[in-house]
């Protein structure tokens, strides 16, 4: 147990150690590298006296809505593409085309079509989550062995029963993986989405701070994004462990 705690903490402590070493080495102008304790102090300051709780809330909300909508759309599309090999052959290049586009490049178009409100930001996150999620979904579903469908037919299952009792349970692990991948991509896209005239949010916080050269605030924003994304992934992994305990290996 203690060993485990040490092993988990160690890489983090090493990173912080290197950070201190760089800050105090004199190799880089100290003004450009705020120390970890300075960033921690700033975090506490922003948390208690300023906007940080609202920023975290706004960003988390955008990510959750974007991912939820993205995965909701990815499930039926992933099903069709996973199930019908010939459809997939033609749609696959299209999917990869859209997935490869960096969301930040689309922002001018998003502003033209969706304005600069909340909707526009969610659209960017939806876009990123959908294409990340749909590919995980259909590659997973395409790998489902047809033997389970055959077996259920010989036991007397109707099409509806096969869907409900065989396809759905076999899809759950892929859904969870898609959700994890989409969340990761959405957090990585957050700052880009908040380039669209955002007043609040971690991306907005970072951009404002950069105008005033407040490096410690930039660090706070970046670290918050990383930590929230990490926490969400850990929660999803714990859920997956319970929900798909039957799997040979958990991804």
């Amino acid at each position: 147990m203690l060993r485990r705690v040490v092993l988990i903490a160690l890489p983090w402590l090493i990173v912080i150690g290197i950070w201190y070493a760089i800050a105090y080495s004199g190799l880089i102008n100290p003004a450009l590298v705020p120390t970890p304790d300075r960033v921690a102090w700033r975090f506490w300051d922003l948390m208690t006296h300023a906007r940080l709780p609202v920023d975290i809330l706004m960003s988390t909300q955008r990510v959750v809505i974007g991912v939820a909508l993205g995965i909701l759309a990815a499930v039926p599309v992933g099903f069709v593409l996973g199930w019908y090999r010939n459809v997939r052959t033609f749609i696959d290049p299209l999917m990869n085309f859209f997935r490869a586009l960096p969301p930040i490049a689309l922002i001018p178009l998003v502003i033209v079509y969706f304005g600069i409100g909340e909707l526009a930001k969610v659209v960017v996150l939806f876009y990123a989550s959908f294409f990340a999620g749909v590919i995980v979904m259909y590659e997973g579903i395409a790998q489902i062995s047809p033997i389970y469908v055959r077996v259920s037919r010989t036991l007397g299952a109707s099409d509806a029963e096969i869907f409900r009792k065989v396809i759905v349970p076999l899809t759950v692990p892929h859904l969870l993986t898609a959700l994890r991948v989409a969340l990761g991509v959405a957090w990585a896209t957050l700052v880009a989405s908040e380039l669209i005239a955002a007043q609040q949010g971690l991306g907005a916080l970072i951009q404002n701070a950069s105008s005033f050269f407040q490096l410690d605030i930039i660090y706070v924003g970046i670290i918050c994004i990383g930590l929230i994304a990490l926490a969400m992934d850990l929660i999803l992994r714990a859920v997956a462990r319970r929900l798909v305990a039957w799997q040979e290996r958990i991804a």
Binding site: R150, V151, K165, V166, Q247
Partner: protein
């Protein structure tokens, strides 16, 4: 033992589309499986055995001729014909008990919870799975998965059992134990069985009739009635009659294997 014909192959042929036009796999096969028969089908790999079973299971339809079940053409799979696949096909997301109960939760053969439980418990006991009732299949050995597949098929009370090389992936000991278990279960609840196997010994030990198939396009090379009464025991393997029959069938099968191998080479060279 032998009763009225239940499954009838009536001049059945099967062709698949292939690069060289059409590949003829089954060639004008006529055969009857009677009620209570245990028919073992043996022949070189790739000759068309699985295709024949798939027609009985209802997964494919013959290109000409008819496959009849109690006089009616087979149009699709159904719970009257239990299929045991070589890869077992045990549902990994269900526990052992839920796997066995699966068929009984379907509209086609729905049973009340109490009855379902009773059936599950009975087959778990029969197949030696009681201790694993709530385990995931990932925790089971190959032999146990095989028994689970058998229990799941039995739970919906099929009249026919179609088995495609069911024991091929098991080690020798487990295989022998599974053969005896199968005979035991069949003695308790009779079924009409079609079993595909590569093992001449297995065919003789288990079956009441053996069909030796030719190389592709497959025809019936020889029909053999196995002269040993049930119940059978391991000692049967040591008898002179068993060994004579084994040599005879082995000769036949070897010749067809050679023909098939030659043919595959010819196809490869084209």
């Amino acid at each position: 033992m032998a009763g009225r014909p239940r499954i009838v192959f009536d001049h059945v042929s099967m062709e698949f589309p292939s690069k060289q036009g059409r590949l003829r796999v089954v060639d004008d096969v006529s055969y009857e499986i009677d009620d209570g028969d245990f028919v073992a089908v043996i022949g070189p790999s790739g000759c068309g055995k699985t295709t024949m079973m798939n027609m009985v299971a209802g997964f494919v339809q013959p290109t000409s001729g008819r496959v009849l079940l109690d006089g009616k053409p087979i149009t699709g799979p159904g719970p009257d014909r239990g299929v045991i696949f070589q890869e077992y096909g045990v549902f990994p997301w269900l526990t052992v008990r839920q796997n066995i109960a699966f068929g009984l939760t379907l509209r086609a053969n729905r049973a009340h919870a109490a009855e379902r439980n009773e059936i599950c418990t009975r087959y778990m006991k029969l197949m030696g799975l009681s201790e694993f009732a709530d385990a995931w299949p990932k925790m089971l050995s190959g032999g146990m998965r095989q028994r689970l597949a058998l229990a799941r098929a039995y739970a919906v009370r099929p009249q026919f059992l179609l088995m495609d090389e069911p024991f091929g992936a098991l080690d020798a000991q487990t295989r022998a134990a599974m053969q005896d278990l199968l005979l035991e279960v069949l003695a308790a609840e009779g079924k009409t069985v079609m079993l595909i196997t590569h093992s001449v010994e297995e065919a003789i030990y288990l079956a009441s009739r053996i069909v030796v198939m030719s190389a592709r396009p497959t025809r019936i090379r020889e029909e053999i009635t196995v002269p040993f009464a049930y119940p059978r025991a391991d000692a049967l393997h040591e008898t002179r009659e068993f060994n004579e029959l084994r040599s005879h069938i082995r000769d036949l099968v070897m010749r067809e294997y050679a023909a098939q191998a030659q043919q595959s080479q010819a196809v490869g060279a084209e």
